[in-house]
């Protein structure tokens, strides 16, 4: 009786269930480590970083899922579950509250998406990327680490470019968490109005929630209110308007 072989067989056969255990453990370690920073870095950012480390260990086109025993993670992190979970985050947004945010909230979303697009496209162009699909996907990644892969998948970008776009989003998310407390005074981030603008411009939900909490926990709901629309707006506009814009300029 080969106990190891039997275990491997069970884990491979029940890949998705095994993925729940693995990702759960990854999160546990990440959140424990983030706790050591006293809330300066949010657990989600550490967990996503660990995810990217796992992908590197897998060392294949499908990251850790390139190893057959871990193929279930490929299902859990695949397009179906990803998009399903993203849609679910819209739950809880109250239409009446949204109306209160008003024109400035919408404008901050537009500014946030446009600045991300400019930053991503400019840097990607500097590094020799020329195809509108690659440029737009990297720009979308600067928006958030979710908009990047959604846009990349929609436009048919390569896994490499999608990985860059995720990395760009993670870099931004982590930087928002770390930098916000330091620049809060300078940019006047001390009232609901500016908190809503902050959420709309930065967009990264985990980044803004953690960064804002470090400045003033009472302002968190205001920035979350606009940030919650960022990913949705990004998923809507990057594969469409921004892609057509990129194609018109660089196509």
């Amino acid at each position: 009786m080969d106990l190891m072989a039997m275990l491997t067989k069970v884990l491979t056969k029940n890949g998705l269930i095994f993925a729940f255990v693995l990702i759960g453990l990854t999160n546990l370690i990440a959140y424990k480590m983030a706790g050591l920073t006293k809330g300066r870095i949010h657990g989600s950012a550490v967990a996503i970083f660990f995810g990217l480390v796992l992908a590197y260990i897998g060392h294949g086109a499908k990251g850790i899922a390139s190893i057959p025993m871990f193929a279930g993670i490929g299902m859990m992190g695949g397009a179906m579950f990803r998009d399903f979970a993203i849609v679910s985050t819209a739950f809880g947004a109250d239409l009446r509250e949204i109306k209160k945010v008003g024109a400035v909230g919408v404008l901050s979303l537009v500014f946030g998406l446009v600045t991300s697009w400019i930053a991503g496209v400019a840097i990607a162009y500097m590094f020799g990327y020329r195809s509108p699909v690659d440029l737009c996907t990297i720009g979308a990644g600067v928006a958030t680490f979710v908009v990047g892969p959604v846009t990349g998948a929609a436009l048919g970008a390569s896994s490499e470019v999608i990985a860059i776009s995720i990395a760009a989003g993670v870099v931004k998310s982590v930087l928002v968490m770390i930098m916000t407390p330091f620049v809060a005074k300078m940019i006047g981030l001390n009232n609901p109005q500016s908190a809503m603008v902050f959420g709309g411009i930065m967009g990264t939900t985990s980044g803004t929630a953690a960064g804002m909490a470090a400045v003033d926990p009472k302002l968190v709901p205001y920035c979350a209110m606009t940030a919650t629309f960022y990913t949705g707006s990004g998923c809507l506009t990057f594969p469409s308007i921004f892609y057509l814009l990129t194609k018109a300029i660089f196509g």
Binding site: G77, V87, A90, V171, K172, I187, V197, S240
Partner: protein
């Protein structure tokens, strides 16, 4: 029942993705255009309606809230299946892109906050 919430979420998801496919075909992009965004919009509208009208009770809402809570873990799983080894060669793009993105953002915040302040 929990399944009602999950079913509503799934319905919104499929409708949104279908609409995104149709819009993509209309635009000639050969891709799903904003399907996730449409699905989110449907979910906001329908769940608000459901709560107000009473047919989306606490238990049903839990079915949606569960998936919302699974969002970060799923994103962690998603990041672990990317071609990171290949992306590392383009690591500077990611870091500089992220940095430039937040610098531009931080510059815009005081400008837009002022705009909102004046209006009120």
């Amino acid at each position: 029942m929990v399944i009602y919430g999950v079913a509503l979420l799934a319905f919104c998801y499929l409708t949104g993705v279908y609409l995104g496919d149709i819009l993509g075909a209309l635009l000639g992009v050969k891709a799903n255009v904003g399907g996730v965004g449409f699905a989110m919009l449907f979910l906001i509208i329908l769940s608000n309606k459901g709560i107000d009208a009473g047919w989306l009770d606490k238990k049903s809402q839990e079915g949606i809230a569960f998936w919302s809570a699974m969002y970060i873990p799923i994103v962690v799983a998603m990041s672990s299946i990317q071609n990171v080894a290949a992306a590392l060669s383009g690591g500077a793009v990611a870091v500089l892109g992220g940095v430039l993105g937040i610098v531009l953002g931080f510059i815009c915040i005081p400008l837009l906050s002022k705009l909102g302040g004046q209006k009120n």
